[in-house]
Subunit: 218 residues, 2 copies
Amino acid sequence: MSGNGYRKSEETRQRILAAALEAFGSSSFSEATTRQIADAARVSLPVLQYHFGSKEGLYRACAEAIVERYREHMAPIATRAREALRSNGTAAAARKHLKVIAGALAGFLIGSNEVKHWAHFVGRELREPGPAFDILYESLWKPGVEVTARLIARARGIPEKDPAARIHALLLISSLLAFQSGRKISLRVMQWSKIGPKELAMIRSALDAQIDAIGGGA
Amino acid sequence: MSGNGYRKSEETRQRILAAALEAFGSSSFSEATTRQIADAARVSLPVLQYHFGSKEGLYRACAEAIVERYREHMAPIATRAREALRSNGTAAAARKHLKVIAGALAGFLIGSNEVKHWAHFVGRELREPGPAFDILYESLWKPGVEVTARLIARARGIPEKDPAARIHALLLISSLLAFQSGRKISLRVMQWSKIGPKELAMIRSALDAQIDAIGGGA
DNA sequence: CAGAAATCCTATCGCATGATAGATATTTAG
DNA sequence: CTAAATATCTATCATGCGATAGGATTTCTG
């Protein structure tokens, strides 16, 4: 397909990818149209097929691009948390790492305008599995839930494999999504016009309270 | 259009509505097709237009049907909670009502197989507003968040209008959705094959812990 | 049992979509 | 500089969609 030789096309490829990320972010796979993407990338329709084979190929390429960017952002934080787990940290330390992770994730998901589209892409694909489910599940969701569950188990003083820890992890992560997938509706409920630094701080503080409570509860 | 006279058509109408609820539950408005709905209802295509005017009209009718059924199920519980709020109940009483509401909602959303489709319909429409947003927001979401936020405020001993109470309400409700919108992926994480009574009990117990924590935190 | 009203069907329209054919333009290699 | 490889374009195809036209059928009214 492409990738080697002829360096001009690489820039086209990136332009298409950027347009596709935006399109697949704000619409679903079937609702977004290749024409709309081609227009936004200022190329003609068949160029998409030339570079990515098909609409589905383009979609998969988007997923891979997202995974890469997400890794850059979250990897250091996750690594630090895993190190803390290995070194038998205290419950309080586990809570601290949970707060860092949740806070970073909240900032990442809710903060930047570009990332917002990616987050929608990921959320949709995980809720309603499509061509990119596997890569997103294995690269993002599974490890994220894993480390969260282990930290929660540590914070509550229960075994790492306890299903209750995983349930709490899912509840915690899912609650974060109130202001991501559910952004529009949450803005309406809160009567906010946007989520700026002030609003983000309030959300973080509520999350911190939740996390403190998780640790103290049992 | 229809509604009066000729009683035969009423049964057709119901058959169409049932097929549409299932279709719009498992696919989005644009992904579900009128042909598929007509087939499932064992009628020909134009019958949909005859009874509901258009695809969008049918969609709206689905939303209204859902609201009605939801009301039947949740109204008594919500009413009892509101009474408790009026009569200046204690923080512990507020927590108890929160548990009842969250538990009932969890059972309602996650339990029945029929309701599962409706819940997906509602969730999708609230995340990505379409023709039925207003009725769902005003009839389901807004009052639900409202009463939850007031109970949380009471449980935490903060003013009813405190934005923090609303944030916590959104986080709580959103966490519930881990096993609703996110059912597939949560089953995978938990290595469950379905959400039966045993699994539901574990979820309820985790939610109760969350609610206890909310009350005790601040 | 008529005749009118309502319900439902077959056939088709117009449109948007993803994909492809085939020609043209651009870039690199020798 | 030329020729092959690569990249892009215009024009078109086949398909599936929501909607409608116009006629047949069923159901109620008197």
